[in-house]
């Protein structure tokens, strides 16, 4: 095998090895050998015993599995891609299958996290937009209300009242969607990651409130964000539209919780 070019990560070395009773790969049969799978579950190496000491030092095949590869177990036989491997027992075959299904599970977890974050983002960004406009309404009500309701207010309707009713409806709707999305994804994300998602959403809401009030030094909010694994500064929070940035920073925390929940589950 050739070495990867400089600057590229080397492929992850196979870290789990299982004794093969027999294997068929690309229509060729191999009696005995070793099936090695890397930690991420996306690289498989098939090795043949060598010599009388049966040292597994000849690689017959090494291939990369796509996350959506079909992994099947029938008794002690594991079938994936063009490989059919008979392992020592159905239990071992099941363990290998779980390992090979990990990329698909993690992809699914990432999708669920992204969906949950998107629904939280819609709610929080709608709220941020409303609070930004309210800040403007305090000092420049004519300009702000004209800009925010020019296309929707009917003659005679009080613009500030229209503003509140429009945003109340939008917030209630996006909160319902957010709750439904988190409830729908909770099975896949796990209760820990879902609780964390709620904690992050609520805390960002409190950060928005503090920024709207304008008289806070944000020390408590920064500490709360830090506790959630989100590092930022007061200056950064005071720059325009901080919600999206905070959600981006929260992503690894949620993903990590959700991934470990799935691995342990």
């Amino acid at each position: 095998m050739s070495s990867p070019p400089a600057g590229e990560d080397a492929p992850e070395a196979p870290s789990h090895a299982y004794r093969l009773v027999s294997a068929t790969y690309q229509n060729r049969e191999y009696p005995e050998g070793v099936l090695a799978v890397n930690e991420s579950g996306n690289e498989i190496e098939l090795r043949r015993w060598m010599g009388k000491t049966k040292r597994p030092d000849i690689a017959i095949a090494r291939f990369h599995l796509e996350p959506n590869a079909d992994v099947r177990v029938e008794g002690a036989v594991l079938r994936v891609s063009e490989l059919s491997a008979t392992l020592e027992s159905p239990g071992v075959a099941g363990e290998v299958a779980e390992l090979l299904r990990r990329p698909a599970r993690e992809l699914e977890t990432a999708r669920l996290v992204t969906e949950a974050e998107a629904s939280v983002g819609v709610f929080l960004q709608t709220r941020e937009e409303a609070l930004d406009l309210l800040s403007r309404i305090k000092t420049d009500p004519r300009g702000a209300l004209f800009a925010s309701t020019a296309g929707s207010t009917t003659a005679g309707a009080e613009p500030l009242g229209s503003f509140y009713s429009t945003y109340s409806a939008r917030l209630a709707e996006s909160l319902q969607k957010m709750k439904a999305s988190l409830a729908g994804g909770e099975k896949g994300l796990g209760p820990g990651a879902t609780d964390m998602m709620y904690a992050i959403a609520y805390t960002i809401g409190q950060v928005q409130n503090a920024l709207f009030e304008g008289d806070s030094d944000l020390v408590q909010e920064l500490a709360a964000l830090q506790e959630l694994g989100i590092t930022t500064t007061a200056q950064e929070l005071r720059t325009e539209r901080p919600t999206a940035r905070l959600l981006v920073r929260a992503h690894p925390v949620i993903l990590s919780l959700a991934t470990s929940s799935r691995r342990s589950g």
Partner: protein
């Protein structure tokens, strides 16, 4: 607010500071739907200028209603495309609802006091007055048609003034001729004529908006709704001598012709250095006794300024029909051939 299983509420953090249990945020999300209530600051004085796109005024809000090349709406401008050969009725039919909507959006009526500065010979003045609701603390500074104006202008002006009167707005009327002849010398900007002169005069009135509203609303209670005006802008002792001379001199240049004996009230607003207050107050008394002895009310208001030059604005309360009688013939002539252009045709 999030609570721990033991019921302790806490705004921020993951763990309860009292018992160390994890906080639950799920049931607290709904509170984020409640937006904080705000009290918008619409300022003390708003000005709506109709047909005067070039006025330069300092107020908390200045909105302009004018005709131009195309329809354009911004927080400070309501501009409509000119209608060829259009009468006030054409503009009203086409734009009344959208102007009402614009006025609501930009908060016309939300400041404490309002000055409506309008050229009542402009068809948009009827549109604007039709769109306005009845508002308190509102004065109309109206440039009105006079005997030199065309019947069409007189008709428009007559309808606009009638609407303003019907809505209960006090009116300070300036004839077109008076407005055209306005010429003020100012220390900092030299001679001001036309819109600049009107801006300069309004600057003084805006500086005394509280007093102006107070005087006009008191007159309203006396049944005096229409006023004429005279002014000296950037006056000085070297030009007028004693203050009494200044009062007498300015009373010969009324914005709408009225004889002193026809004036029902007379009020002077003086903007000068504090040390001149006594002299002006005394002179106002002399002026009133000499020319307006029969006035129902006469008040003097003084505003301290830093300038060595003074402004003197006197407002004369008149009979309500005084503003209409000179232009009634032109109004009637138009209504005779186009009955829909009568006051009854306006909202």
């Amino acid at each position: 607010m999030p609570r721990c299983p033991n019921g302790h509420a806490q705004r921020l953090g993951l763990k309860c500071l009292v018992c160390g249990e994890a906080l639950s945020f799920r049931d607290s999300m709904d509170e984020l739907c409640d937006l904080p209530k705000v009290e918008p600051d619409y300022g003390k004085v708003e000005v709506v200028a109709v047909g005067y796109p070039l006025l330069s005024l300092k107020a908390d809000y200045v909105g302009e209603i004018s005709a131009g090349l195309a329809d354009l709406k911004t927080p400070t401008a309501f501009e409509v495309a000119s209608i060829r050969g259009g009468s006030w009725l054409d503009y009203s039919r086409k734009h009344l609802e959208e102007l009402r909507r614009w006025m609501t959006l930009v908060g016309i009526g939300k400041s404490t006091d309002r000055l409506l500065v309008m050229d009542t010979t402009d068809p948009l003045s009827v549109l604007a007055l039709s769109a306005l609701p009845k508002l308190e603390h509102t004065v109309v500074i109206a440039v009105v048609a006079d005997q030199d104006s065309t019947p069409v202008e007189q008709n428009t002006s007559y309808v606009a003034l009638s609407l303003a009167l019907r809505k209960g707005f006090p009116i300070i009327a300036l004839t077109e001729t008076f407005e055209g002849d306005m010429l003020y010398f100012t220390e900092d900007r030299g001679f001001a004529a036309g819109d600049d002169a009107l801006s300069r005069l309004l600057e003084s009135l805006l500086g005394a908006a509280d007093d102006l509203m107070d005087l006009l609303e008191r007159d309203m209670k006396l049944g005096v709704q229409v006023h004429s005006l005279s002014a000296i802008v950037a006056g000085s002792k070297s030009v007028y001598g004693i203050a009494t001379n200044a009062f007498m001199a300015q009373s010969y240049g009324l914005s709408m012709g009225a004889k002193p004996e026809e004036c029902q009230t007379v009020h002077s607003l003086v903007f000068s250095r504090e040390e001149s207050k006594g002299e002006f107050e005394k002179s106002f008394g002399v002026f009133r006794n000499r020319k307006f002895k029969g006035a129902l009310n006469a008040e003097f208001r003084f505003h301290d300024t830093a300038s060595p030059l003074y402004d003197l604005v006197t407002i004369y309360g008149m009979r309500t029909d005084a503003s209409l009688q000179d232009i009634a013939p032109g109004y009637q002539a138009i209504v005779g051939s186009m009955p829909e252009l009568s006051v009854e045709g306006a909202s």
